[in-house]
Amino acid sequence: MYLADRSASAPAGAKPARGRGRLRAGAVAPAVLALGTVSLITDISSEMVTAVLPLYLIAGLGLSPLGFGALDGVYNGVSALVQLTGGHLADRVRNHKLIAGIGYGLSALCKPLLLLAHSLGPVGVVLALERTGKGLRTAPRDALISLSTAAESQGRAFGVHRAMDTTGALLGPLAAFFILNAAVGGYDAVFGVSACVAVLGVVVLILFVPSAGSTAASATAGRAGGDGGPAAAPVPAAGRSDGGPGAAPAAGVRGGRAGAVSVREALALLRLPRLRALALCAALLGLTTVSDAFVYLLLQDRAGIGEQWFPLLPLGTAAVFLLLAVPVGALADRIGRRTVFLTGHALLLAGYGLLLWAPDWPALPYVVLALHGMFYAATDGVLPAAVGATVPARLRATGMAVVGTGQALARFGCSLAFGGAWTLWGAGSALAAATAGLLCCAAVAAHVLRPTAPDGAAPAGSGPGGPPASGTGDDRAPADPPRRPRGTR
């Protein structure tokens, strides 16, 4: 049992060297693959609808989409609150799978409801419900991925999940294409098939995803123990939190382990210095990250791309993201998640720089899209991986939600500010301001997140290898630094 139990590597100082080797060759946890499959299926269903929704609303229902665009801003705010609720609820009932399942189920329910909504009001309500479902499930799902994976391979696990997720997003429009080719004008068929696919995703979730992400249960493949009732699940999960970060505040939080997670404990999370730093930096960087829509508009504006290529721009980013998610995630495990996270933003900076300079290269759009995709690969899965290493298991979902919400709200604020700046100063100046802001924020984040040993001990032996070595030690939360020989990375 001990050999199969990767997460309990804390007690043995010498074990990690061998364990790490086995980890690299080891398979990804079945829970991660199951969640990846659920995300893949669900994304096929969502993107199928998204691909035809504009045409359906405008041509089919004769709606004016300008009001529709305004609703989108409201959704972002709602989605952030819902995410916090979902994360906290999941920890509170100690059943991540249940909350995630409710989220997926709600989204699945909304697909057939679209068929019944014939004007902007009901359509807005249905789409808001779908966003609510999405917000509910994000934090518990990420917490499940994190809890099912050893601390050493969180980056790769999230990379696998994100890659499967993006695959689904790319397959969705293809499915819509085939259906509309077979049945001309058959929007009801598209929505109906989307609903069926979404239900299939929920079925896979119920059957194959374990309840609380206890590593022992999911590592022994095929055993039913993983989802054997909520009562069994919390005990292993709580047991695993022995391997959680040895930080003093966490121990205090863990004191009342037998009791339910309360809001006060959740708020106490913010007292964790590591988490606070991570959340602040994620928010700070989110505040200067121009949203995707603007990037594509800027690219079209400054690189002079023809009209017909405009809808394909997001696919470029998605393709690069898909290809790089797993390798970059594994890289993050090896050289430090915070390093990769910051490097991702540096790549985005390079992209903005190129857009600002706008040289007359024919390859400019491809380069910018590649940098954009690399940015997502280096940040989208790596941030929850870094959070997962910082937060104790019983508050994992709340931690994910806190950081994720902070980043989402910051990005939303940035897009409002960027839109305003574009209005007042024009595209070039607004982009220059965003680039300068991102540079400053990245510098601050690099300083704040500079690796120190956990528990606030002096940055021991931050010798020549400096950041990467001790950075890795930081992220490998379960291990006690003095016991881990520096030489063996």
């Binding site: 045409l55 004769g62 293809l174 508009l297």
Partner: protein, 337 residues
């Protein structure tokens, strides 16, 4: 549950859901080919834009000719219709030139095109579009064609909309890709903003003047513009989708009834006195109306209980009378003289 039991349940679910999905697709496919009972009679035939005294429109009735350009005699709009082979989402024609906006689902993304056709509906020039087609107009002389599309910038879950209006000169094929590059003058002062959107262009007979809607800062304005000077000035507020009368004295438009709501009431504005008259149509009209003659307007309203289908209605342009159903299962009317 053991693994094998779970796989069995999964297999059952796949079969059930897959069967249901296939049934839905097959049902929709069958429906696309069969005309509905009691629907208008459609036969394939020839439609030319130089035919006299006819009404041309896009057929939205279910059946094999759905979306095709069709025509009927102007004095018998409910007569059996002749459908051509041209399929569009939005169509308009004048003086033997037509513009057809089409949208077909593509493997990676939607393929949207604007096609300028001659009187025999042969393709003269095609232009790729950046988004979903919305409005189309041809100038009375047939020289200029304008269209509006909705551009959506998509990221994971975030969708926003913006319009792009283009004008093409069919003599030189010079394309003005984005009306937002025109100079805007509001209340006598130059105006610029990033949220400026134009839509609903309507041309005057002098091959230079046009009217359109300008949306900015949550308000819509009627603008009068000049193609040659590349400038527009605002005339009035809360005027959307204007349509210039043949005698060029009045503009028919939709006026938003309450702020923020998607409810419009069709009005006619006298351009000399700037007095507006509400029309007898009390329902919300979300369409750019077409003047059948100096006294009558035609517009499309969604068909009751049928998705993706509209009917053509007419109403007198002076605010009197009552709306009348002209042609069921049709959109994009054009009067061929």
């Amino acid at each position: 549950m053991t693994l094998s039991r779970r796989l069995l349940v999964l297999a059952l679910a796949v079969l059930l859901l897959g069967g249901l999905a296939a049934a839905l697709v097959l049902r929709a496919a069958a429906r696309a080919d069969q005309p509905r009972e009691g629907g208008p009679a459609v036969t394939a035939g020839e439609v030319t834009l130089t035919q006299r005294d006819r009404l041309a429109f896009l057929n939205t009735a279910q059946g094999p000719h759905r979306g095709a350009l069709a025509s009927v005699p102007a004095d018998a709009p409910e007569a059996p219709r002749t459908a051509s082979g041209l399929t569009c989402r939005r169509f308009h024609a004048a003086a033997g030139t037509g513009v057809c906006l089409s949208s077909t689902p593509g493997a990676l993304a939607q393929e949207n095109r604007a096609v300028v056709v001659d009187a025999e509906l042969r393709e003269l020039r095609a232009f790729p579009l950046a988004g979903t087609p919305s409005r189309a107009r041809v100038s009375p002389s047939g020289r200029f064609a304008a269209w509006t599309v909705f551009v959506s910038g998509e990221s994971y879950g975030a969708v926003f909309f913006s319009t792009r209006t283009s004008i093409v000169d069919t003599r030189t094929w010079a394309l003005e890709p984005d009306l937002e590059k025109f100079a805007v003058s509001m209340d006598g002062r130059p105006y610029s903003a990033a949220d400026v959107n134009f839509w609903g262009v309507t041309f005057a007979a002098d091959d230079d003047t046009f009217y359109a809607t300008l949306g900015t800062a949550g308000q819509t304005h009627l603008v009068k513009g000049s193609v040659s000077r590349r400038a527009v000035i605002t005339l009035a507020r809360n005027v959307e989708c204007p349509s210039l009368s043949p005698d060029e004295t009045r503009v028919a438009y939709k006026k938003r009834v309450t702020r923020g709501a998607s409810l419009w009431r069709e009005h006619v504005l006298d351009l000399r006195t700037l007095r507006e008259v509400p029309l007898a149509e009390k329902r919300s009209v979300d369409d750019q109306a077409v003047w059948l003659d100096d006294r009558t307007l035609a517009y499309a309203l969604p068909t009751d209980g049928v998705v993706d289908s509209t009917d053509l209605w007419t109403v007198p342009a002076d605010g009197t009378g009552a709306p009348r159903l002209m042609t069921p299962g049709a959109s994009s009317p054009t009067r061929l003289r």
